[in-house]
Every structure is written in C-alpha cells, then in structure tokens.
C-alpha cells in the first residue's frame, strides 16, 4: 500500500475541517449548541452505544464525542477509544458481581413466573413502531410536564434494589452445568495483548463487549437464520446500574466509587451431554455491555454460545469460528480499514493500470498472432 503526498493538501484539509464545523453550526443565529446533558438524556441509546463500542464508560466525553461527530457512532466511539489510549491505567476493579445490579428492567422469555417477578422497564417491545407525529411540534412546556407528571405519581412500592438471577434457580434444579473454570484465573486483557488464536473465552467476551452492535448482530443473525444451531431462549435480560466497588485507600474496605448502566443477557441453548459421565444439561451463552443495548447483549450471548461450541468441536459455520467472529466485529478496526480505501492510492492504482495495459497489449498481440496462423 502506498501513498503520495498531495501538494497543497494542508490547506484543503483545513478547509474540509472548517466546512465540517460550519455544518455542525449551520443553524446559525436560530440554533443552539447541543448541551451534553441533553445528549446523555435524549439520545441515551446512542450515548450508551458509543460508550460500549468505545470500551470506556465516560458519560461526559461520550456525549462530547457524539456532539463533535454529529451523531456518527463509529467516529464517536473511535474518539473515545483514542482518548482512553492517552490515559494511564491506575487499577482494575475486584471481580464485580452483576447480581448486585440496581435493576430498572428485567424480563425472561423462558419462564413467566420468575423469582421477584418480571418488570418491563422502559421498553418499546410491545409498542407499535409508528411515528408519533405530535412530537413534530413539541413545546418545551409539554416536554417538561411529561417528566414532572411521571415523577408526581411514583408508587411507594417496597421493591428490592436487586433481584436473584433466573440462572441461579435453574442451576439449583440441576438443569445447568456447574461452574468448571478456575475462578482465580486472570482474564485476558484485549487492550494490552493481541488476539492470537486460540484465545480464551474471556478474550472473546471482552472483544464482544466492546464490539460494534451491527457487526455482532449480523453474525449472530446468521446463526439464528440457519448457519448455526444455538436456538436461544432468553433466561433473563437485565438492565440496571452496577455499583463499582474499589478498596478505600485508608481502610481497605470496598466502597462504591460510582455505578455504570449495563445490559446483561443470559441465554439457554440446546441441551447436551456435558461429559464426565454427567447427565445432559442445558448449555448457556452470556452477553453484557455498557449502556442500555439489548440487541447487543442478546447477540453477544448467542455468539458466546456458538463460539464455545466452535472452540470445543471446531467451527461448522462462520458464527462458531472465533477467528472469523472476533476479528470482524470491532467497529473501530473495521471502520478504519473500510475508510482507508478513500485515501489516495494513486501509486498502487497506477501500478494496477500499468499491469492491465501490459496484459491487454500482450493479449491483443496473442490474438493477432492466432488470427495470422
């Protein structure tokens, strides 16, 4: 791959950046800059997606990235990833238990009655996908009134902050495999070690947790449609705030330094012999990511299951192949490779043209000779 310097390119690049900035502010005197709180609140799904795909839970800077890149989720995640690369790592958390999540949504498609009950939370799952035309002309007063009115009617319900997991219930009934792994083993750090295959499952989970949603969905969809046989049932989909605990420097006591909004999904797949002369049990897949992104968590859980199968038996289709899946789902990698094709490739293309002309010339000569014979 070769590039050539472009004479006068600097001025054009500055012009392109200035033009981009003009487009961001094109509303002129009639417009107002997006404030970061508005982005975090009103574009919350996009905001969560950028934090997840950037691999950094930084609500303020994720909102800034969305503002700066005018809603381009790939570019915004790229900027967040670039930012994180400039910061030192101070520590890592102890292993956090997602059972302590402060839930705002929790559903199961496996059982209608789950311990603690099902709560739809904020979800469009059962709503019609019709445009709400009244929002075309939404007044600030009406907008503010909706939230105030919801807050006025809060029930004084004694709901617990966290609820037991459906999988724990199934495990107690002997329907699921027991934990087999060494609980003390250190997970693979994809931010510091390259993926050289075979990789452990912790590398696959970390890679998928910061993968691009559409890429994960596309490969998981291939498995759903027939290029695979996970046939998932959602044991539990949870959305909530996970308290982040770190040891207090003075006392050593684990204290809460903040919380992150995450989506977590556990799927139950086909049952199978678990080996060791054990009785058949269901197999499982797990997905989790920053923000409220159920499609990503579910797609990840399906791929976790298919990759576990592929790692054990060898891949029978693309979604079971760790190398195929894990090397093609990162948004920053794939976007970067894709967009590099827009950069000047004049030398390589010139070379292609030279070769084509030479080949054409040879072919023409050959045909002339064949005719003469």
């Amino acid at each position: 791959m070769s590039y050539v310097a472009i004479k006068g390119g600097g001025r054009a690049i500055q012009g392109a950046e200035a033009l981009l900035e003009y487009l961001r502010t094109e509303q002129g005197r009639g417009g107002l800059p997006l404030d970061l709180e508005t982005i975090q609140s009103q574009l919350r799904f996009l905001h969560g997606r950028v934090m997840s795909e950037g691999g950094l839970y930084h609500p303020e800077l994720a909102a800034l990235a969305i503002k700066q890149f005018m809603g381009d989720s790939l570019e915004a995640a790229f900027a967040l990833r670039a930012y994180r690369s400039t910061k030192p790592r101070l520590c890592e958390s102890p292993v956090l238990d997602t059972g302590a999540m402060r839930l705002v949504r929790r559903i199961s498609s496996a059982f209608k009655d789950i311990p603690g009950g099902q709560m739809l939370g904020a979800s469009p799952d059962f709503s019609l996908r019709l445009l709400r035309l009244e929002l075309l002309d939404e007044s600030p007063e009406r907008f503010q009134e909706i939230a105030a009115s919801w807050l006025d009617d809060l029930p004084d319900d004694k709901m617990p902050d966290s609820l037991p997991k459906v999988l724990d219930h199934l495990r107690q009934e002997g329907l699921l495999p027991k934990y087999k792994v060494n609980l003390d083993s250190e997970p693979f750090d994809i931010t510091r070690e390259p993926l050289i295959f075979p990789v452990p499952r912790s590398a696959a989970l970390a890679t998928m947790a910061r993968a691009e949603t559409g890429s994960l969905l596309g490969i998981a969809y291939s498995n759903m449609r027939g290029y695979g046989d996970v046939h998932p049932t959602v044991a539990e989909m949870r959305v909530g705030y996970l308290p982040i605990l770190l040891p207090h420097p003075v006392t050593g006591e684990a204290i809460e330094v903040g919380e992150v909004l995450i989506t977590e999904c556990e799927v139950v797949a086909m049952y199978e012999e678990s080996g060791d002369h054990d009785i058949p049990r269901f197999t499982l897949g797990y997905g989790a990511c920053f923000g409220h992104n159920e499609v990503k968590a579910l797609a990840m859980a399906i791929l976790d299951r298919s990759l576990q199968k592929g790692m054990r038996d060898g891949p029978a289709n693309p979604s079971e192949d760790p190398e195929f899946v894990l090397l093609h789902i990162d948004g920053i990698d794939s976007m970067g490779f894709c967009t590099h094709y827009k950069m000047p490739h004049y030398v390589t293309f010139q070379s292609d043209m030279d070769r084509l002309r030479t080949t054409q010339k040879k072919e023409t000569l050959k045909r002339v000779k064949e005719k003469q014979q």
Binding site: L56, A122, L154, L167, D168, S202, A203
Partner: protein
C-alpha cells in the same frame, strides 16, 4: 424510621456515594472555604486515569473485562487549625482532581471529626437523600411496569397487570 434518621447512619463506605450526588462545583467551593488555612499534604500522588472493570459472567462463572472507567484518586493527610489530624481519601469516576480532593477532605474531616464535621455530615445527609430519591425512582420504574404473562384464560379479561 424517618428519612432523616436513616441518613444519620450513613457509614464511611457510603460517604463518597452520598457526597457525589451533590453538585461538584458547590461542594468543591464549600470544602475549599472550610479548609482554607489547613495543613493538607498528599499521602500519595493525586492521579487521574482509568480503571479496568472486571465482572463475573453468570453462564460459566468466568471473569472478564467489560471495559474501562475514568478514575481519579486522592489520598491526603489533614491537620486542622486545632491540631486535629486525619487521613482522607477519595476515588471517583470522573476526570476531576479538584472534586476528588474535596471528597478526600470530607472523608478525612468526618473520619477524624475535625473542625466542620457537622457541616460535612449535613452535606452527606443532603446527598444521601438524593441517592434515596434516585433509588425510589428506579424502584418505581420496576413497580409501574411489573407484568404478569399468565395466559388470558387464567386472568379473565382483566388488564390489571
């Protein structure tokens, strides 16, 4: 037990959470005013960077890295004008050394019952009430959307659930 009574029992492990619920600028200004003439020395270098989040997945029980969070840490030795001494520390999920310092000061003031600890305790109470309000809101999100997927035959035509 009233809400006010509950907040008086906020323990050291929860001070940071409670105080983090307040407006950072106001808190920083209040603590700066309170500790203006105090002798404050860093016990370790204040740092701003990242922390890796490690969670346990619930299918196989393996741990993995979910991603990173911003982290600022401060650890201070504090001496008030009356000679009272304490150590205070804070770790916060933000790139804000001033806020981390203010929270570490609050931690030390409360731990050592230094001058102004009543003021800081009042701030903790105020922050804790905000945390509780947020928790109540989240519980309401669950309570108002609780669903019963029983078959219609089981519940008649009622849409009460």
């Amino acid at each position: 037990m009233s809400s006010a009574d509950q907040t008086t029992e906020v323990t050291r492990g929860q001070w940071l959470r409670a105080l983090s619920a307040l407006e950072p600028e106001k808190l920083t200004a209040q603590v700066a005013a309170l500790t203006e003439e105090w002798q404050i020395t860093p016990r370790s270098l204040p740092q701003s960077g990242l922390a890796m989040l490690k969670i346990r997945e619930s299918a196989g029980g393996e741990s993995f890295y979910l991603g990173e969070i911003p982290l600022t840490t401060t650890w201070l030795e504090i001496r008030d004008p009356d000679g009272g001494q304490a150590q205070g520390a804070a770790q916060i999920m933000a790139d804000n050394l001033d806020l981390a310092r203010a929270l570490a000061l609050c931690d030390g003031i409360l731990a050592g019952k230094l001058i102004g600890h009543e003021i800081v305790r009042a701030l903790v109470r105020q922050g804790w009430q905000r945390c509780q309000a947020e928790e109540q809101k989240r519980r309401a999100m669950l309570a108002t959307t609780r669903v019963d997927f029983s078959l219609l035959d089981d519940v008649g035509e009622s849409d009460g659930n």
